[in-house]
Symmetry: C2
Subunit: 420 residues, 2 copies
């Protein structure tokens, strides 16, 4: 596939032609997408894979209703966290036995950062970034306030770079692969190398990259990773998160949330905790099977998608959107909040506009779904498995109209931005 | 309802008559129960409420598929943990604003015990019980190993009673309302009083009592509680657990697992953690919506059931089973592992038999579902909302036949008891 963006900028017909020859064009049929809707919020909640309902009906009507308790064994419920982890493994460049699906991203961060700190031989500093997705910072606060003498340093606060913050006291560096607001993509391989040279461990948050970018946990030498499944992995609302622990750390890493699902022999009901071997020790309690089955449908798609092809199309989609906004339509005072270089950008475009909130409301009224993050950031997510070049064209055109006509000033789009 | 157990012992016809006049008889229609199956494992996984499939289909087909991201607001997803908590509140004797549904029982124990320890003014001992459900002990181990100087004492170990273990060093007492194996019911009100007199806080595990016994968290003065929703609350496989924090502690209690769902303004994406007011601070990360919707169906039933009536029927069912086994059929060497006094027994009967494991396998082959817990404990759960007196009769008769004929010796029932 070779897409010439300047050709696409000329007409919607050129976009239609690009859709017609798009090698990922058929993948759209794996999803249910509401009639007439252009969905640019797959970076927040992916659409439903058509198989999800089928899987859920099977689980409810057969496994739960008919087979009841036997399904823990016979329908593979007990191993489902592990089964789904193995399905995510190829998507994030991990060999077998290093991933499980369990709990939420926040909890998995708690487990992994806590474990990494426990392996730090007296080092007491955790480095994160000022512009992290906030829960990453909140979880660190929780760890710090319940342990003696742990300190936090933030990349980006007071302009500090990772290089400036790394020293012999740093135990753990935890960063996001793609920034949740700007879409900025960090060079993880290089950052892991620097972290290791400084004698620290690296915990990667892949929430905004898994399923849409090439992620190479093993090759990059990442020590621990966490990630979300309801964005580009299309697992359904609140589907459980995943957790990666590199094989070389599995023996020594300790899960602070030691529950019976992480026990070596959970059904022996022994009184003392003995951690399971390998990645299983990072489980804690019983997992929500119905939500896991929803996720399974999303992973059946993700695990067979060619991520190089996905990444290429993602770059074309974001670049086309940007250039349509900037070159074809004039930007109407909107500024780019994402990196301009497609190589440094994830699969979303963030535009800054002081009145971004009502603009997004006006787009939603036109059935173009994007979202808003304070202050003034309009986020447009581009998921290559179900979006078309014509969708990008139509979205950019709608944005242009909303801005040109100042439609966003209408009373109905002016409700207060909800932050609670 | 006045049930005369000795009358029922005489004939199956007497049991049929009792079923015909049972005021809870109709409640069975709320559940799907497989043809010909007698399900005595609702203490492990409750059967499917008929409404569960409907709720899930609505959530998948309309909320996820059609409305996508809007459903967080418009379909009440964001508040679902709280909404379901409010539905559980009357079932466990709690006024509004003290319960949420979130994560697993293990994680909720971590949060509540950790919070209680943080309020202990230098006291450093946690008292639990040797015969706890193991995850309660494992979670304590995790807390102890990551904090300085916390110690554990166990009721029942070396024969110690709670009275003997309470002193001025005890910060927290954490006990189960009903023992998972024996079904023994503890006098919680009295134990909470003793705990408070010793200056400590009480964390109650209601996994095996909620929905089948009268639980009075507020009236008993319980400080924190946790519980499971997939047993007698029929929430579906792995449905998330609940957590109770008494109003009087909500200001000072600190959730160690501080994630964005517990923030005062989650969508302001602030850099510093500021805990939400009230019970919401005990949330951590995104919750699995599909599994929560399954649970909703179970709670719609539980919240309107008359728990006094449920408790009375539960006592009749367990007593009938016991007396059938002991008096009508002769016990064939089986001994009672549950308290003999119905007032001291939850809604399950535990029988000890050295070859209990193959006996349970033989019962399952006869479509009577009960389970086994090492060593030698056969557990029979009696959920009054869907079980009949004739079910009890048939189960006792089948047990008698399996024991009398030594059917359990058959090769097919002899596979090894799985403990991993």
């Amino acid at each position: 596939m070779s897409i010439n963006i300047s050709t696409l900028l000329e007409s919607r017909t050129a976009c239609e032609k690009a859709d017609a020859v798009d090698p990922l064009g058929n993948w759209r049929e794996n999803f249910y997408l509401p009639q007439g809707l252009i969905y640019l919020d797959g970076n927040s909640l992916g659409p439903m894979p058509n198989k999800a309902l089928e899987h859920l009906e099977q689980t409810i009507k057969n496994e739960w209703s008919e087979e009841l308790i036997n399904s823990w064994k016979n329908a593979g419920w007990w191993e489902l966290s592990q089964t789904l982890g193995e399905m995510i493994a190829p998507v994030v460049g991990a060999a077998s036995g290093q991933l499980i699906v369990s709990d939420s991203t926040s909890l998995n961060l708690y487990k992994t950062v806590h474990a990494a700190l426990g392996m730090s031989h007296g080092r007491n500093v955790v480095v994160s970034e000022a512009d992290s997705f906030p829960t990453d910072l909140y979880i660190l606060e929780g760890i710090i306030s319940s342990q003696q003498n742990i300190q936090r340093r933030l990349v980006g606060k007071d302009g500090d770079s990772l290089d400036e913050l790394l020293d012999e006291n740093v135990a753990v560096v935890t960063l996001s692969h793609v920034n949740y607001r700007s879409g900025e993509l960090l060079p993880i391989e290089e950052l892991v190398k620097k972290t290791h040279e400084a004698g620290a461990l690296f915990v990667l948050d892949t929430c905004h990259s898994a399923g849409v970018l090439s992620v190479e946990l093993d090759r990059w030498g990442v020590d621990f990773a966490v990630g979300c499944t309801y964005k580009y992995l299309n697992g359904g609302p609140g589907s459980p998160a995943y957790l990666y622990v590199a094989k070389r750390h599995q023996q020594s890493a300790v899960n602070p949330l030691s529950g019976w699902w992480g026990h070596a022999r959970p059904f022996a009901f022994e009184k003392d905790f003995k951690a399971a071997e390998g990645i299983l020790k990072f489980q804690t309690g019983t997992q929500p099977i119905l939500s896991l089955r929803g996720l399974q449908a999303g992973l059946e798609i993700a695990k067979v998608a060619d991520l190089n092809m996905v990444r290429k199309k993602s770059q074309c989609l974001t670049q086309l959107f940007l250039e349509l906004v900037e070159k074809r339509y004039g930007n109407h005072g909107v500024t780019l909040h994402s990196p301009n270089d497609p190589e440094k950008r994830g699969s979303q475009v963030a535009l800054h506009y002081a009145n971004g909130f009502p603009v997004i409301q006006a787009l939603i009224a036109r059935k173009i779904i994007a979202d808003f993050r304070a202050p003034g950031i309009m986020r447009f997510g581009f998921a290559p498995l179900y979006l078309r070049y014509t969708d990008v064209w139509d979205a950019a055109e709608a944005l242009h109209e909303v801005l040109k006509t100042e439609e966003w000033r209408e009373e109905r789009f002016q409700q207060k931005h909800q932050v609670t």
